[in-house]
């Protein structure tokens, strides 16, 4: 009945809400593979995920989209699992599977009834050990990936401009500023030798994290992990190239025309502090205050008060992940569709008014507390599914070598002050640190 009591407080402190403690078993195999096991018994399911420390950010120059094309090839066969059998085996065991390519990792995962955990480990070990693909598979997946780019980008209004275009416009270093989904021409030019070389270079146990999360006993999982993964040889993985982003010094405003859209849209992006900077947590809360939900300042101003935007959404690592699952230069992005008759300059003017107010007057105590509750609630949502938890644990292991961090996040964010948020707003949310794209329908 604790919550009945709490309910009389309209704005209860975040510190009063229940804490979550995620059990974490973390160790490294002799070949360098990082292993995270976390038991959770709310559902009779388990997620097995392998995160490789290679994403589209550092794919080979001149081969845009290659990291993603390669991800598809990981489903095309390994020594004991022929083409299409991976999906077949997972589904025959009652599970679902997928893979995805992101800025700084590529992940492969299965969520299935927990009795099939060993099968999933065997499947992942087989492809880590022995990718086995040929020209025909490659040609097939080049076609599939080309259709993926058509269905998600080229045949859609707005063409994902809020990440594909804005990352290219806002950044200068090629690694942060190329077409992450890939030009069709580059996708079609890939060779089987490139695929094999990429596998050999990056898909090494010492460049990966294995996460096992769900209805399992870690003591029973450990010997299975040992059995399937311990003898996969380590490889020498190249140093990551310099992905640092030179400081932006001048505001960028771009206009694009859209052949398929009927209604105009707008996106803007600010460069934000590094993950390990003291400015980072205040930036995340600042983002929530500005655009975290329908009560946020930008939504209220642009959609409800000025009635210019039809919607307002945004965030850090927007549409690519969350505030924890990347490792490198980052943008805080906003995106809106807006009423015909208005324009991007007008949106910028209103957004600036919101930002100036916050820079001058800071945030209220009530606003700060509410943002912390919002953060906690969003964070718990990420912990809800075994996959969501695996994603955070694997990211913290891959990027910080510290999956225990999952239990320290909430306290860290609870400690942020109003002054820090104001200061971050003053230093980062300035026009010379911003890029915007006004995307207008082509005249018909």
């Amino acid at each position: 009945m604790r919550w009945t009591l709490l309910a009389v407080l309209l704005f209860a402190s975040a510190a009063m809400a229940k804490d979550v403690d995620v059990p974490v078993v973390y160790y490294r195999l002799g070949n360098g593979l990082k292993v995270v096991i976390s038991e959770a018994h709310a559902a009779p399911t388990v997620t097995v995920a392998v995160y490789y420390g290679i994403g589209f950010r550092v794919e080979p120059k001149g081969q845009t989209g290659f990291a993603h094309l390669f991800e598809h090839m990981m489903f095309q066969g390994s020594a004991h699992v022929k083409k299409a059998e991976h999906a077949k085996i997972v589904e025959q065991n009652g599970g679902v599977m997928n893979g995805s390519t992101r800025l700084d990792f590529t992940n492969y995962f299965e969520t299935l009834p927990s009795n099939a955990v060993e099968t999933a480990l065997w499947l992942e070990s087989d492809r880590m050990r022995s990718l086995d693909v040929n020209e025909e598979n490659l040609k097939n997946q080049q076609n599939v990936v080309s259709e993926e780019i058509r269905v998600n980008v080229l045949n859609q209004p707005y063409a994902l401009f809020e990440w594909l275009d804005i990352w290219q416009a806002a950044n200068q270093n090629w690694y942060n500023a190329h077409n992450f989904y890939g030009d069709l021409h580059d996708v079609e030019a890939a060779k089987i030798a490139d695929v094999r070389q990429f596998f050999k270079t990056y898909y090494a146990p010492n460049n990966a994290v294995l996460a096992v999360v769900g209805d399992v006993d870690p003591a029973a999982v450990r010997p299975m992990v040992e059995k399937y993964f311990a003898d996969i040889p380590l490889q020498s993985v190249p140093e990551r190239p310099d992905i640092s982003e030179p400081k932006q010094t001048k505001e960028k405003r771009l206009t694009e025309t859209d052949k398929l859209a009927n209604v105009p849209a707008f996106a803007m992006a600010y460069h934000v502090a590094d993950h390990d900077s003291a400015d980072f947590a205040p930036t995340v809360l600042l983002d929530l205050i500005l655009q975290g939900d329908d009560s946020s300042r930008l939504f209220q101003r642009l959609v409800k008060e000025k009635e210019i935007a039809l919607d307002w959404a945004g965030g850090i690592n927007f549409e690519l992940g969350n505030e924890f699952d990347y490792d490198g230069p980052m943008l805080m992005v906003s995106r809106a569709t807006y009423k015909p008759g208005h324009g991007g300059a007008e949106i910028l003017k209103e957004a600036d008014a919101v930002v100036h107010d916050l820079q001058q007057h800071g945030v209220t105590k009530k606003e700060l507390e509410a943002a912390k509750v919002r953060f906690r609630s969003n964070f718990y949502s990420q912990l809800e599914s075994t996959f969501g938890k695996a994603n955070l644990l694997a990211s913290f292991a891959l990027f910080n070598d510290d999956p225990q961090r999952i239990n320290k996040v909430v306290a860290q964010y609870d400690a942020v002050t109003a002054e820090q948020i104001q200061s971050v707003a003053q230093r980062y949310l300035v026009p010379e640190n911003r890029t915007s794209i006004d995307r207008v329908p082509e005249k018909k």
Partner: protein, 449 residues
């Protein structure tokens, strides 16, 4: 050389797929159902994965008119005692989210919060359901924004295809209505929305589903406190149950110049969700295209490379449903892709599925049903289907037994009955000039304006 040696030694050890441990029977969380005096059905399900709670209040009020859709849209934008902004700020302070959605059968206030604040969430949802004030400014803003959103949706190929398919399958039935004509919106008045809300958003036409980190007894007491005083409403209007019978296959083409793909939907009418055919039909769909290792994916994607995500789905609703096969393919292979889609649907009707396919579909269906326990919102959505589609309350506990009893003949019969390639509708959104010749062989072509 060391690597090679290890690899070589490893082979005999791990060549074989390890057999799974015996499956654990799924322990479905207990479902408590109670009825308040005002007719509100309250369903409580504890699910302690995270300290949050999902609270969905669902009304049997489908989306079949402009008024129904606008009434839902403006519902959370102000009550007698709270402005729209206050509602949103109070939600943020409890880690809450709230939205109102409509589908062909129902209107649902979907909400969640940190579970510490469950009573607070109930109180907000209850206030919205009972005392929505439909402020004039909010109604006017919603009308303008909704009209623009419809224009935006009409630039998306999947939206256009789904809208046309609903018309082709359900005809004049309310299920055939996807969104209003934007030009009709200015005429909608605030008072008509208020009247709709007063008549339809009533406790005796609603179910409240609470799933999450709760203790059912305590949560019920709180729910009773929040919703008990809500006044019962009048009886609800009957929904038509007659659906048109299609005579022949027709190709409906929506011209979208500049498209680099044809977005293809092939669909036909299916029975209500309550139908005894449901279990066999959903399994036939799994084998055809509902799972990744399905016939459509193997053929159209993994063998021919025509499409990224060919898929099929059987969506059964309260009064009828549809089976749909879909793929987005590059212009050059539009005709060949339609041919393969029809072929795979026909093959389901003609050739018995293999034992391996059926066994896999059974395990897959059982396993993915258990996966729904990973999400409070997802599980609430599953519970909701029991009420909106009027299903037996033992649906989950008997599901496995029913799935496991299916035979290849059951699948063949369901496919023969519902994968109706001869009277179905083929909807294509694409560049008509570019693919016209490729679609002509599949039936009379109606170019939709």
């Amino acid at each position: 050389m060391r690597r090679l040696l290890i690899f070589f030694i490893a082979l005999p050890l791990f060549a074989q797929q390890p057999p799974p441990a015996p499956p654990k029977p799924v322990q479905w969380p207990p479902m408590t159902e109670k009825k308040l005096d005002n007719g509100l059905t309250v369903v409580l399900v504890p699910l302690h994965n995270v300290p949050k709670v999902e609270c969905d209040l669902s009304f049997l009020a489908g989306r079949g008119s402009a008024v129904a859709q606008l009434a839902a849209r403006v519902l959370p934008e102000g009550t007698a005692t709270r402005s729209s902004k206050q509602i949103k700020e109070e939600l943020r302070a409890i880690g809450g989210d709230l939205s109102v959605n409509t589908d062909p059968d129902s209107t649902t206030i979907t909400s969640s919060a940190l579970s510490d604040f469950t009573p607070r969430l109930f109180e907000i949802v209850s206030d919205i359901a009972q005392h929505a004030s439909y402020p004039k400014s909010e109604v006017e803003l919603a009308k303008t924004n909704f009209a623009n959103e419809i224009e935006e949706e009409r630039s998306q190929p999947d939206f256009l295809a789904e809208e046309q398919l609903a018309k082709a399958v359900y005809g004049a039935h309310p299920y055939g209505f996807t969104v209003p004509d934007p030009k009709a919106l200015p005429k909608v008045t605030a008072s008509s929305l208020k009247e709709f809300a007063a008549a339809r958003y009533v406790p005796n036409n609603a179910v409240l589903i609470v799933v999450g980190d709760i203790e059912p007894g305590a949560a019920f007491a709180e729910a009773k406190k929040a919703f008990g005083g809500w006044k019962r409403g009048a009886a609800q209007p009957a929904v038509p149950t007659a659906f048109p019978k299609r005579e022949k296959r027709t190709v409906y083409f929506i011209d979208r110049p500049g498209s680099v793909q044809s977005t293809i939907y092939i669909g036909a009418i299916a029975p209500p969700r309550k139908s005894p055919d449901y279990i066999a039909l959903r399994t036939a769909d799994t084998i055809l295209g509902g799972a990744f290792y399905s016939r459509l994916t193997r053929n159209i994607r993994e063998s021919k490379g025509y499409s990224y995500s060919p898929t099929s789905f059987a969506v059964l609703r309260r009064y009828a449903g549809e089976v749909t096969t879909t793929a987005a393919v590059r212009n050059e292979v539009t005709g060949p892709a339609i041919l393969e889609m029809l072929y795979e649907m026909d093959r389901m009707r003609v050739e018995p599925v293999t034992k391996e396919e059926l066994d896999s579909a059974k395990t897959y269906s059982n396993g993915t049903m258990a996966l729904e326990l990973e999400s409070q919102a997802g599980f609430a959505q599953r519970i909701r289907t029991l009420y909106i589609y009027d299903l037996p309350r033992d649906f989950l506990t008997t599901f496995s037994e029913k799935i496991n009893a299916l035979t290849p003949a059951d699948i063949g019969n369901a496919a023969a009955k519902y994968f109706d390639t001869y009277r179905g509708a083929i909807v294509i959104v694409g560049d008509y000039k570019a693919v016209k010749a490729q679609v002509a062989p599949f039936g009379d072509v109606v170019v939709v304006k």
